[in-house]
């Protein structure tokens, strides 16, 4: 018994004048844990961005909970999906202020997060004092973990994780992978070159079939 959450149907995407995908199809069911594989530049991140309406398809359709993704429902879709981009540059200023501002958004207001934030910091090996540091001064690995923590604090159940463990050392990679795979209800769509994700049984999807840019 599986219910369909996301469906990419005959997706075609052109990038810089050449075709990145033609007729890509993928169905993601609720609770699925998928890892997208394929060489760099094959468009794995693009697939995530399409679902979030950051990029648009040239042909084909994306369905979310059975409805076609469009400008009218994209704003609600974004509120249901947690996205951790491989670009960890999410803002500047004191980490605490950055997090507080996110929780001052209309949609997140009233969500309690302080206690959970502290326990997550601890779990991911960050000292609590990090929240008083400037985000832009943190290391790549620290930024990655802060991004992950924010995405978890938002209380969503669908995660798009784009190379979220790339800057972490092996132990932390394990911790992140464990953390996300532990929760059976969560739906994960992961892009990663880390083989840490491979040690568990995740369904693999190969993204390929594109032309190479000259």
């Amino acid at each position: 018994m599986s219910s369909e959450l996301i469906r990419y149907k005959d997706i075609c995407v052109d990038f810089h004048g050449s075709r990145l995908f033609s007729n890509f199809n993928l169905t993601v069911n609720l609770g699925d844990k998928l890892i997208l594989k394929g060489r760099s530049g094959s468009g794995k991140s693009t697939l995530l961005k399409i679902l979030l309406g950051i990029l648009r398809v040239d042909d084909g359709e994306v369905f979310y909970r059975g409805k076609k993704v469009s400008s009218s429902n994209i704003w609600d879709i974004r509120k249901e999906i947690a996205y951790v981009s491989q670009d960890t540059d999410i803002g500047e200023g004191i980490v605490k202020d950055l997090i507080n501002e996110i929780f001052s958004f209309d949609h997140n207001r009233g969500r309690k997060y302080h206690r959970k934030r502290n326990s997550l910091l601890e779990y991911f090996g960050l000292d609590r004092s990090i929240v008083y540091k400037k985000f832009e001064g943190l290391s790549g690995g620290e930024k990655q973990r802060i991004c992950i923590i924010i995405s978890v604090l938002l209380g969503k159940e669908i995660f798009l994780l784009d190379e979220v463990t790339s800057a972490l050392d092996p132990e932390l990679k394990e911790k992140v992978v464990d953390f996300f795979l532990e929760n059976e209800d969560w739906t994960l769509l992961v892009v990663s070159h880390d083989n840490t994700w491979d040690r568990v049984a995740m369904d693999e999807v190969f993204v390929d079939g594109c032309e190479i840019n000259a």
Partner: protein, 266 residues
């Protein structure tokens, strides 16, 4: 009345230009022609303005005064979009709206309640004070709106992240709005705080030369500085929010074609 400057006097004024010309010759700076062209252009423009203002002041017709002010506003909007290197076609109208909202309404308020004019469309107030508000807001808007879009483009990921963290469009744009406003207000605040010490501003100097009492001159200057500040903040904010209605698509993503000089991805 201040002492008249005769045309002979003006000639002596121009004679001063020999100094920079000699300096340029000595240091072999090739800017003589450029400078002289600019000065010639300025002279012609001001003579035309003199002719036109004489006419407008003589008539002192509210409709004509307003028309002249709106002409200045429409030119400011053009200049603003042009200097931000943005697409004129899509951004002109919202920018025009921002300048109208940010200068005209404040100008009317100042004329009515601060200077306490019986006729708020009086040419000698409407046009020069309008010009000061407009000129300063224009400078601020070019910097502020330009900064807003350039930092959005440079740090698009921050914007996208905020959207994915549950922000509405305005919430996601806030850091950029803050940045834009800060960059446009910094010079304004700097100007305000050095005034009276470092320099006497043009308007005040003009009134002093025209024989006004220093206290009258400073009161005008204070009123003008406050309204310049208010109208800059208003224009920049309005320009950001009005243009952003146009510059983002219905998915909340920045449209590429609103920028000029962006090479087409093809």
């Amino acid at each position: 009345m201040p002492d008249e400057i005769s045309y002979t006097g003006l000639f002596f004024g121009f004679l001063l230009l020999i100094i920079p010309l000699l300096i340029m010759r000595y240091v072999r700076l090739n800017m003589g022609k450029e400078s002289l062209t600019a000065i010639l252009r300025m002279t012609i423009q001001l003579f035309l303005a003199g002719l036109f203002l004489t006419f407008v002041f003589d008539m002192n017709n509210p409709v004509l005064n307003l028309l002249w002010f709106f002409l200045m506003v429409s030119f400011a909007a053009f200049e603003s979009v042009q200097r931000q290197e943005m697409d004129l076609k899509s951004l002109y109208l919202p920018t025009l709206g921002a300048f109208l909202g940010g200068t005209f309404l404040i100008l009317m308020y100042v004329n009515a309640f601060v200077i306490d004019l019986a006729n708020v469309f009086e040419a000698p107030y409407l046009i020069p004070i309008g010009g000061i508000l407009l000129g300063n807001s224009l400078g601020g808007t070019i910097i502020g709106v330009g900064n807003f879009y350039s930092s959005l483009k440079r740090n698009e990921n921050r914007y996208v992240s905020r959207l994915s963290f549950g922000a509405g469009m305005n919430e996601a744009l806030m850091p950029y709005v803050r940045k834009g406003l800060r960059s446009s207000l910094k010079p304004a605040v700097g100007d305000i705080s050095t005034i009276g010490i470092v320099h006497l501003p043009g308007m005040m100097s003009g009134q002093l030369i025209a024989g006004a009492s220093p206290f009258l001159a400073i009161k005008y200057q204070i009123a003008v500085m406050v309204s310049v500040y208010v109208s800059t903040v208003t224009c920049v904010t309005l320009a950001i929010f009005l243009t952003s209605r146009i510059c983002f698509d219905e998915y909340g993503m920045l449209k590429d074609h609103v920028f000029r000089n962006t090479p087409d991805v093809a």
